[in-house]
Amino acid sequence: MFECLLLVLILFLVLFQQNKTDFMTFLKHSKIISKNQLSQIKLHEKQYQINLLYKQKLISNEQKKRLLQQLEKPAKKQSGQKFRRHIIGGGVICILAGIIALIASNWQELSSVAKLTGYFIVFAALTAHFAVLFMKNKKRELWLWLNVGWIFAGIALIGQIFHLNGSGWDVLFFGALLSTPFISLSRFKYAVSLWSLTYGAGVVFGSSPEWAFLWILAVLPIVLFFKNNKPAAWVWCVSFIISLLNTLWFSQLAKAFTNTFMPLAGAWIFLAVLFSIVCVCRRIIGSCAFTKVLRSVFYIICFCTLFGADYTYSVQEVVLTPQKMLTSVWGIFILAALPFCAVGLFLKDKKTAYIIWAFSLILAFCYTFITFQSAGFILALIVFAVAALFFAHKQKANSFYACLFLIVLRIWLQYFVYTVSLTGVGFGLIGIGLLLLCGRHLLFHASGKETQ
């Protein structure tokens, strides 16, 4: 069954690839390639100016050639370096993921005391290192996110060791709360959006949403302590809005519809209310920082509600079924649509973006009625969707290929965990990482010699 679906998916991708001309038209329409075009225009302008200088006999022919060569060199060099860095990065990530998979497969062999001691030693070291970097005003963003990831890992670890109750949403909620000091210090432009996504999902779908609003009072002093930072203000603003809306609306009214198909209706109403708030605020206040926050909250909660409604509808049974596989393909379709949607939104081609977004939502809700879903898979989808959005926004990689990569990676991992075991996945990932690093070394070392 799974293989058949995989074939269908590949067929779809091949067909999509054949329609690349349409895809390119879409890209042009949403002004995605405008940046590249812009840099090319600048290059042409400079070349034109050099030619002009030569025509006016202000520079000699040799000087003109040298200048033209110098113009072309950095661009080639930069793209080559970037490509090499990407390969190295990919290789290192694969090896690290492989090591993690190997540790995970032998995880229970370690005693609880060893696990917890190791965890807290690493955590203290990470936080101390970040504090030192912050005080010396050095680059620290990577360490900040490592700390955030480590907090989430710790909650999962403690939960596993003590066999605690609680869903993944509670982990998101608690993790987001604890990572507030770090998020407040982040320089990453979309840190607050990512944080809101996590916090919002945790608050809305966690086991005790009624307490969320009270919890935020506990966070407030921490955030106020970092009040000089702009992200800190945003963190507070976003968390306040989410908690307030959740407490007033979701926990009171939408909960009444539980155990029927009505969570979906509740979700729609909730979205409509949020959208109205955004519209009204934009009309009254205009486009200011506050409405930007509201808008980002709206998009994030749209996303959370979509998956949350799906989760509420099908939370009872966790069994591997063909429907689940079908649902995974649905997830993949949604993921494929997301980067286009995100790109459209970010480049302010709102009409296209809304059409795609609406199409995705309708498709998702239709599938929700006829299929079943599991919580873990939804979480995985959210993670990949965020990654896809990030790629799409950054535009460092082609969004379409980034999305393809994520889809293939997801299927590959799922397939191998079933057929080979986690240990096999670990060795496989390490092998791929080494291959990438060796391949990169052989490829560029040889080409370097040739050019010399």
Binding site: E109, F134, L178, L320
Partner: protein, 142 residues
């Protein structure tokens, strides 16, 4: 100086919270009364299966006199997670045993740390009154 101290306090807050939480849970699980509850298999197949067993509490086979109340506090066990994490290969074997519990004469019990009014914490899986890893080792020797 004061500002720096406060900054570090804020930064190490998550560390402190997690450490405190772990300490509290360790203290609770070590000092609480231990109760043994019979368990039976429950459909464990999902996308992340293979690393845990999923069980249900079998109150009919459980000795209710061991509880301080004198009866089985079913409501207190209603919300506990029904997953017990095991190593990859052991999980598969124990899972098969659990599924064949009715045909093969194997008894499964779970040791819990129990305090009245609080959620019980699972501590150890017993198979035929032996710790699960001892049972597997003995089976291998046979």
């Amino acid at each position: 100086m004061k500002h720096r101290f406060l900054f570090l306090c804020g930064l190490f807050l998550p560390f402190g919270v997690l450490l405190g939480w772990t300490g509290y849970l360790t203290y609770t699980s070590l000092t609480a009364q231990q109760v043994i509850v019979a368990v039976k298999g429950y459909d464990p197949l999902d996308l992340f299966s293979g690393h845990y067993i999923q069980y249900e509490i079998d109150w009919e086979k459980t000795n209710c006199r061991q509880f301080p109340e004198g009866y089985c506090p079913k409501s207190q066990f209603a919300d506990i997670p029904r997953r017990y994490y095991l190593p990859e290969q052991a999980a598969e074997k124990i899972d098969r045993l659990m599924q064949a519990q009715n045909t093969v004469s194997v008894r499964f019990d779970m040791v819990f740390s129990y305090i009245k009014g609080r959620q019980p914490i699972a501590r150890m899986l017993l198979i035929n009154n032996q710790k699960w890893f001892d049972y597997l080792n003995n089976e291998r020797k046979k």
